[in-house]
Symmetry: C2
Subunit: 163 residues, 2 copies
């Protein structure tokens, strides 16, 4: 209304010059754009519909924490228990992980990675690295370390406030 001379009634879509407006301060918006791109690109790279999203994360966590329970896994990946059941079904169907009964608490599954799973994990990890290679190339070591540090801080806060 008080705009002096801006004829930009209709922004040119080809310039890519778009104002983020109110979104400039919103972390969630920036995070989501990156996440969308990364997850889509990752799915394209593996290009197997029997490897569902979350399978890489789950396999990595099982590998690093042998005997992990499904509940603990669900908390770590941020999905519901029921969703984790489906993920583990996939994982067992692939022969990459297995459920054993916990000795201390027979309600629990003790999750373990298999030999095949270890091989698959290597491949998935390589895919993930390749998927993020451009990012690593664009950031200095210091910047990467700083980014991870800040992201961890943010993540910690997310679960610190029970609000």
């Amino acid at each position: 209304m008080a705009k002096a001379d801006g004829p930009a009634q209709e922004p040119d879509p080809d310039t890519g010059e778009i104002d983020l407006g109110v979104l400039k301060d919103v972390i969630g918006f920036r995070i989501r754009r990156i996440q969308n791109h990364l997850s889509r690109a990752f799915a394209e790279r593996i290009d197997r519909k029997d490897v569902r999203p979350g399978v890489f994360s789950a396999l990595a966590l099982i590998s690093a924490n042998p005997g992990l329970s499904q509940t603990a896994l669900s908390r770590e990946v941020g999905f519901d228990k029921a969703t984790v059941v489906a993920m583990l079904d996939s994982l067992e169907r692939l022969g990459w992980a297995e459920r054993r009964r916990s000795k201390h608490d027979r309600r629990r599954s003790a999750l373990h990675i298999t030999a095949d799973g270890k091989k698959a994990l290597k491949g998935l990890r390589a895919t993930a690295v390749a998927n993020e290679a451009a990012i690593h190339a664009a950031l200095t070591e210091d910047e990467q370390a700083r980014l991870f540090e800040l992201l961890d801080k943010v993540y910690a806060v997310c679960f610190a406030d029970p609000e």
Copy 2:
């Protein structure tokens, strides 16, 4: 197998002491956890099923770029054109935005926010700020600026490599 003394055959799920393993280097994993939490918390705060996800982003972008086309919007939010159609249907049903025919190219919609939309945007922005208040509180000004800077760098890279 060669583990000397660790009886940690089954990690205690209550300690929260879980090893990220291979995931430690993966940006995508860290981003996703945060995004999951943030989007879920945001949805809980607005608590209106007629306000679909993406509506806040879309409204903010339309507000900041009057006359924006749907294609440009779809590129910016990272969704398909068809998905953006549904978002705009919601937006118009809410009376928060409207489609006008572009004068220069009659195939295009020129998107504009309404008076009600401006009010709603204020509320949504406040919700987003509240949703991220804990994060802002935990980070210094410098850290926030640095985080945004790094995230922008990452985002730029995502679309720089056509790979």
